[in-house]
């Protein structure tokens, strides 16, 4: 009886000790990983451990300037594919991105090194003039970009951005399907992360600022 109680006591002590040690170890490894924690994919953002360098492409922005690979260098670029005749998803996303940009701008580093680019997959209806009116309505700094089908595909393929334009001659409101993912390209023109809906401006801004800080620290 007594021996049994003693054995039980020893066993419990060992269990308690093991639990404490495990707790300490977990806490330590957690501290170590706080900066890495953001790299884990979650509902807000997926950061790629090996950012993929973007390759050549050529589109035209809403001011009729060439928008090619060089325009992705030196800036963090948030890219979103859509079309101006989209009444629901595109305005929702662009309004959220506008709020994210304002949030990023309030940070001490600011938003000088950030650009938001709306890529229209519907060049048939989205002329440069229309695109300009559309994107700047959401934020004066936003850029609208488009090109012909092959030119758009060349950029979209690099990001695995899916879209489909069911263009029907004579039909005014033909359907357009497109990914609602927001792609983030870093200042070295590497596809670095993506944001998947539901998009939340605060969450995007918060996670972006941490990533920018980490990458900035790495660079210096």
């Amino acid at each position: 009886m007594n021996r049994l109680a003693l054995r039980f006591g020893i066993m419990m002590t060992i269990v308690a000790l093991a639990a404490t040690l495990a707790g300490i170890w977990l806490a330590a490894s957690d501290r170590e990983n706080t900066s890495r924690a953001m790299l884990r994919p979650d509902r807000v953002m997926t950061v790629f451990p090996d950012p993929k360098p973007m390759r050549a492409f050529a589109l035209t922005d809403h001011q009729n300037r060439v928008f090619d690979l060089s325009r992705l260098q030196g800036k963090w670029s948030f890219l979103f594919f859509g079309f101006t005749h989209c009444p629901d998803v595109c305005p929702t996303t662009l309004a959220e991105l506008a709020r994210a940009r304002d949030d990023i701008a309030r940070n001490s580093v600011g938003a000088e090194d950030v650009q938001f680019v709306f890529i229209s997959v519907d060049p048939n209806r989205d002329t440069a003039g229309k695109l300009g009116q559309y994107v700047t309505y959401f934020h004066t700094t936003f850029l609208g970009v488009t090109g012909n089908d092959a030119q758009i595909a060349k950029l979209a393929a690099q990001l695995d951005a899916a879209y489909q334009v069911a263009f029907t001659p004579g039909m005014e409101n033909y359907p357009v399907y497109h990914t609602t993912t927001v792609f983030l390209v870093d200042p070295r023109a590497r596809y670095h992360a993506m944001f998947t809906p539901p998009l939340d401006a605060e969450a995007i801004a918060r996670r972006f600022k941490v990533l920018r800080e980490l990458e900035g620290a790495k660079a210096t």
Binding site: T92, Y134, A162, Y163
Partner: protein
């Protein structure tokens, strides 16, 4: 004249967002709004919360408005990693349940407004239910 009529309808609706259950209030609508369109855009989306106060299903079959050339009931769907819109021929409201028309889901697709709508404007959209119930809904244009 017509404008004044519209205003009075808006006021009545604004003052009674959720009318007490009665014969006319089998279905109640609140928080109805239309997203302000970017300049030059003629496609807009309307959102709202529908509440079926009755003890039987209510089926929304169509919507119309004198303020738009076309009004359709649409739903945003995700297919093969892409988002698109499909026409919803009818939307059933379960008894004593609410259904929300919200960004990314059901919405009223509003095409070609007959005047430029800006935040703060109001526009009336008529919801038609199976069985003949027509519900005028005052929607506020919001940014």
């Amino acid at each position: 004249m017509r404008w004044r009529h519209t205003i009075s309808v808006c006021l009545v609706l604004a003052l009674t967002p959720f009318p007490a259950a009665s014969e006319e209030a089998d279905v109640a609508v609140r928080d109805a709004w239309v997203r302000e369109p970017p300049p030059g855009m003629t496609m807009m989306a309307g959102f709202m919360t529908l509440r079926n106060n009755s003890s039987r299903p209510q089926v929304l079959v169509s919507a119309s408005s004198s303020g738009f050339e076309t009004v359709m009931i649409h739903r945003t769907i995700v297919k093969d990693g892409m988002t698109g819109m499909v026409h919803a021929p009818q939307v059933e409201l379960a008894p004593k349940a609410s259904l929300i028309f919200a960004p990314g889901g059901y919405h009223l697709m509003l095409i070609n407004p007959n005047r430029t709508l800006r935040a703060g404007d109001r526009v009336v959209i008529n919801l038609e239910f199976r069985g003949g119930l027509v519900l005028p809904v005052a929607c506020e244009v919001r940014k």
